[in-house]
Symmetry: C2
């Protein structure tokens, strides 16, 4: 790849642009709803210029916009791209993005891959973007029957070159089902956890576990609402499963059933220990 | 204070002994169910000797044992202590410890304070104890009508001198009610979160939020079962409240009610932002 375009220079797109210009020799062009951000990124040397002037040149396009804008903007932009251009979005759900784009872009001679960089921050915008946001993170790529395998290889190599330590290639159904658990549920739990009527009494009574539980309550509510609604059945299933497990604890405690309570806690501890071992193995196998 | 005794040299008691000998000029004596651990701590210079030989000398006694052992061991030890000795436990619940001890020890001429150091690790035992486990942490002290105010002042100064940045003086009912939220609920959520049927598919699909949600699932199930059972009504109330908040999310998502969902998420975000500001103010006021 010689040049890449980035649409949307917020936290994710801005970090992509910064990571590419810092960690690779690839030229980056960018566009954003704010002309000021584009000017700033050019002035900082992150961008080589405005993407609008280079649509026909770029070898790959990365789109990092709000979930509801991604499909429309990609379909608008597609006719201006050269044949064979790789197109990758960064949205946290994948079926609602891949289904309307994959076949259509393939028919236009473009090489679309659904993408999801597993990194973020509690703060948004270009000002918080960083060349190292993705260092050590996992990049998920979703393929289907319209996906160009060469594009997946090129994209994998590219994302590794800008800092990702792991490329997970999967399909959009698996992505949406698993991400409902690993990421979406965590944001809902954080948001629910902070709402306790005991919150305002907590000062002086809390340590790391409270902080960890509530960290991601600080989120962009418009974006996350759309992500949840685009993955409704999976996230509702995860909430239901968690609620059932929480009620097992409540019931054992209310019944004063110590054996049951110890068994529930032991099950959680053993699952966590096995999970850490499995993750280590997975990382070794995919290093 | 010239000398302090520590009963129970596990993670918490061991860290107390190490913190005192590293950060103060106070002599530390210790005892533990394992003679080997005592010998090791003496050899390492953490302890000046076996507590059994010095019960009548010490100015304060710190007890860091399993919740079910604390009251019995303190009552057994009390007659051997000199008048005026400060006695502090380190248990994660307070009413079930303070009620059977406070008046009784006061009548014996001892100065009891219920204690709870807000620090921990996912690993246990003396080998993992550290002189800096409490650095920057909060120490909770519970007083009631039998408490000696001088002892609370002396203890506060002492705990600050070994690294705690904040001393929270409260009563046992407040402690148990708030700790059910800030600490006990977090452990139950972690344990419930790790039990999802999707767990084994998560590799390559997770980032920091999953890690934070499940960190404290690695716990000592025997100890935590007793802590939960000793604080039954408060923890059940917290679980119920969390479940209700989770169900609000599930209902809004299932109904496709975007406005409601945005409002729920915004409420969580605003509460989290205000909470961070309130915590900063609290820390400044109590520095």
């Amino acid at each position: 790849m010689n040049s890449i375009g980035v649409i949307g220079l917020g936290l994710i797109g801005g970090s992509m642009a910064k990571a590419i210009s810092s960690h690779s020799g690839i030229t980056v062009y960018g566009s954003d709803a704010s002309e000021e951000i584009v000017k700033r990124a050019v002035a900082e040397g992150v961008l080589a210029g405005r993407l609008e002037d280079h649509f026909a040149d770029i070898d790959a396009l990365i789109v990092a916009l709000y979930p509801t804008d991604v499909v429309d903007i990609i379909l608008e932009t597609a006719p201006r791209l050269k044949k064979g251009c790789i197109v990758i979005d960064c949205t946290g759900v994948k079926k609602s993005i891949c289904v309307p784009l994959s076949e259509k872009l393939s028919d236009m001679g473009l090489r679309f891959i659904g993408g999801h960089p597993m990194a973020g921050k509690e703060v948004a915008g270009y000002a918080n973007a960083s060349a190292d946001l993705f260092t050590g993170a996992s990049m998920i790529l979703c393929r289907d029957e319209h996906t160009d395998e060469g594009a997946v290889s090129e994209a994998s190599e590219f994302f590794r070159s800008i800092g990702f330590s792991l490329i997970k290639v999967t399909d959009y159904d698996t992505h949406d089902r698993v991400i409902a658990y690993t990421s979406q549920l965590a944001h809902i739990v954080s948001s629910a956890y902070i709402k306790s009527s005991t919150l305002e009494d907590r000062y002086g009574f809390s340590a790391g576990s409270f902080k960890d539980m509530t960290r991601v309550a600080k989120l962009n509510e418009e974006m996350w609402a759309d992500l949840f609604l685009a993955n409704e059945s999976s996230i509702v299933l995860q909430i239901d499963e968690l609620v059932n497990h929480l009620m097992e604890f409540a019931n054992a405690i209310e019944a004063g059933d110590r054996d049951k309570l110890v068994a529930l806690l032991r099950d959680g501890r053993v699952k966590k220990e096995n999970d850490e071992l499995a993750e280590e193995r997975f990382k070794k196998e995919n290093a």
